[in-house]
Amino acid sequence: MDSYLTSGESHHASGEHTHDEEGNKMFGFIVFLLSESVIFLSFFAGYIVYKITTPNWLPAGISGLEIKDPAINTVILVSSSFVIYLAERALQRHDLMKFRLFLGATMAMGSYFLLGQALEWNSLAFGFTSGVFGGMFYLLTGFHGLHVLTGIILQLIILVRSFNPGNYDTGHFGVNATSLFWHFVDVIWIVLFILIYLWQ
């Protein structure tokens, strides 16, 4: 017989993992994010097909989307990915003060992004029901915005938890997952920005 594996020999076939809850959670979370990204991919695919096949793509009276403010927004959101990375690093060094500082900065940047989006929505001359474009625009930016909001809430949770001394050294799953989620939200936004704003 070729491969008699005995206990503890191969890494992921090993029984210790039964107790590796942190590892399981992180793995499960990554699997979940992969699945979640397919929802976005489906919307993106729909957007592309609609844009190519719809004769009057933009609603009547609209010539295109203003791009300057969304671009600034994009820069801020993408930079916040680096800031949350710094927070994660600080936590690894057990530097709680810096952790909270960087986390707070990330939350501020995320909130700025959301605010900017709200202002943009407010200024637009078309609505959710203005043809397929209107629907797609609000669906995509809204669904993404919901994710940003979720990210900020997650950040708030880990920030509050960091004030409870028992929490931060029992494992960093919450922090790592929040940070991964934030990077995910950023990457999605970059695709979204290219599709909606750059490809007009």
């Binding site: 017989m1 491969s3 008699y4 594996l5 005995t6 206990s7 503890g8 020999e9 191969s10 992921h12 076939a13 090993s14 029984g15 993992h17 039964t18 590796d20 590892g23 399981n24 959670k25 793995f27 499960g28 699997v31 979940f32 992969l34 699945s35 979640e36 397919v38 929802i39 991919l41 489906s42 919307f43 729909g46 097909v49 609609y50 096949t53 719809t54 009057n56 959710f128 029901t129 043809g131 397929v132 209107g134 629907g135 797609m136 669906l139």
Partner: protein, 562 residues
């Protein structure tokens, strides 16, 4: 090898006694034990199977005469829509998830699923889906009527003008069931990748585990597309968006793409675990190792991958360009290659074996026969010219019922009988089981075979009245359906009475190989006192190797004599 009949199994004298979930109240609680959850899924699903079956008999009752005389047309539409929805979302998916829940941790030597609480939440969403769907009968205008695939623009019609109508409730229910399934998929994939016992490499996993793994990967990457489409449809219905509404510049065919990108692979979410069940059952009752284990394992994954790129065969008649039709016709036929390999492997396993025709084996054999028939018809359907001809006729209805009833439901019955002793600690009555089998087998063929000639003659589906020349075959089909309805009676009787009064089951009544048969029936709360160390192949029938290095069990057939 002696032929064990169920009645005179020798009970091992010193069955280890463990406390196990014996209290029926536990099944109504928010339990996090994967075994309790598995049974909760199974029982819930079976109740909805009966509901869906009653709907089916209303449909068949209407169709016994050419006129539309039993129920009115809208109610009839609601009936076939709800029948399809209930059968798919509340019978096949949840019952297979139930088996996966019960068996996967046991089969891979784990104490539970990776996320027990998530597991319980995912289960409790299923009754919510069911109650929501049943509640849709009471909203203005009645339940959804656009068929289980809910194509716009039909599904966008809102004759009552109410914001909450049957279609909206239906979409919410489907969305919740999708969320529950994604939770389940995350849990299964994590469990299978991260929680296998030492020694259980991927190629020592039982084939049922391989099948569940492949099926759940489809769920992970297919379901989100359906969810996206469902959200857009819901917005069209309630918020006035234009995605699929042609009158507002939307494109209804886009919905078909979203829908079938998931729903074609979904066929394999259902059928792959059934294949897994076949692969567990045939070796045991033929006393032979499974033929071509590795190929069968890999073919599950292959099916999962290929099935993701064939969906357009449902859109042959939706204005799909010819080159695309050809492309998807070829990929569709490609799926039959790994499937064919599997069928070949099962036949080779049974061939020349010491066959024991117990109820699980009978059901599995019956299901395999039905599958081969359905497969031949399916290959016909995948060719564009045939599909264009019989699309939307009873030929298609006949085909998919050979799959869904003949193969899936009969395969589920096989699994229920096979693992019944393990799950309940009791033996079922073989005679009642056989009666159940023959009624089901005959009923299925009476019911669904006539649909093929009907379809070829041009009888359309989703109609409540038809031309008189179709009457003969329709009468036969309706009688078959009533027989099928009756066939559940001996089954229910058997299950209830056996569970209460059946003979106590030993740990391994079928002398099967597999970790789940090493523990007592039913298994103790945390499955294994000591996590097993796997040292041999999963289907070593006829070889005398120990399965594990550390678990000694009286009833294991290949325990080395020490």
């Amino acid at each position: 090898m002696t032929n064990i009949s169920v009645k005179n199994v020798n009970l091992p004298s010193e069955e280890p006694h463990h406390e196990s979930p014996g209290n029926w109240k536990e099944y109504f609680s928010f339990s996090t034990d994967h075994k309790v959850i598995g049974i909760q899924y199974l029982v819930t699903a079976f109740i909805f199977f009966l509901v869906g079956g009653i709907f089916a008999m209303v449909i068949r009752g209407e169709l016994i005469t050419p006129e539309s005389d039993l129920v009115d047309r809208t109610f009839y539409n609601g009936m076939f829509t709800m029948h399809g929805t209930v059968m798919l979302f509340l019978w096949t998916f949840p019952s297979l998830v139930g088996f996966a829940n019960y068996l996967v941790p046991l089969m891979i030597g784990a104490r539970d699923m990776a996320f027990p609480r998530l597991n319980a939440v995912a289960f409790w969403m299923v009754p919510v889906v069911g109650i929501l769907l049943m509640a849709s009968f009471f909203v203005p205008g009645g339940p959804a009527q656009a068929g289980w695939w809910a194509y716009p623009p039909v599904s966008l019609q809102n004759p009552t003008g109410h914001l909450i109508n049957g279609q909206v409730v239906w979409l919410l229910a489907v969305a919740i069931s999708g969320v529950s399934s994604i939770m389940g998929a995350v849990n299964f994939v994590t469990t299978i990748v991260k929680m296998r016992a030492p020694g259980m490499g991927f190629f020592k996993m039982p084939l049922f585990v391989w099948a569940v793994f492949s099926a759940q990967i489809i769920q992970l990457f297919g379901l989100p597309a359906l969810t996206a489409g469902a959200v857009m449809l819901l917005l069209d219905l309630t918020a006035g968006t234009a995605f699929f509404d042609p009158s507002k510049g939307g494109n209804p065919v886009m919905f078909q793409h979203y829908f079938w990108f998931y729903s074609h692979p979904a066929v394999y979410v259902i059928i792959l675990p059934i294949f897994g069940i076949f692969s567990e059952i045939f070796p045991v009752y033929s006393r032979k190792p499974l033929f071509g284990y590795k190929v069968v394992a890999i073919s599950s994954l292959l099916i999962a991958v290929v099935s993701a790129i064939v969906w357009v065969h449902h859109l042959y008649v939706s204005g799909t360009p010819a080159w695309m039709r050809m492309l998807f016709m070829v990929t569709t036929m490609l799926v039959s290659v790994p499937t064919g390999i599997k069928v070949f492997a099962w036949v080779a396993t049974i061939w020349g074996g010491k066959i024991r025709l117990t109820t699980p084996m009978l059901f599995a054999l019956g299901a395999l026969i039905m599958f081969v028939f359905a497969g031949i018809v399916g290959i016909m359907l995948s060719s564009v010219p045939v599909d264009v001809h019989v699309n939307n006729t009873y030929f298609v209805v006949g085909h998919f019922h050979y799959v869904l009833f003949g193969t899936v439901t009969m395969g589920l019955y096989a699994a229920i009988y096979h693992w019944f002793p393990k799950m309940t600690g009791r033996m079922y009555y073989e005679g009642w089981g056989k009666l159940h089998f023959w009624l089901t087998f005959i009923g299925t063929n009476l019911n669904f075979l006539p649909m093929h000639p009907l379809g070829l003659q041009g009888m359309l589906r989703r109609i409540s009245s038809y031309a008189p020349e179709y009457e003969f075959w329709n009468i036969i089909a309706s009688l078959g359906s009533f027989l099928l309805g009756m066939s559940t009676l001996p089954f229910i009787f058997n299950m209830v009475v056996s569970w209460m009064h059946g003979q106590k089951a030993p740990a391994n009544p079928w002398r099967a190989i597999g970790l789940e048969w090493l523990v007592s029936s039913p298994p103790p709360v945390e499955n294994f006192e000591e996590i097993p160390i796997v040292i041999s192949e999963p289907y070593g029938y006829g070889k005398s190797e120990p399965l594990t290095a550390n678990i000694q069990n009286q009833s294991h057939p290949y325990k080395p004599h020490s």
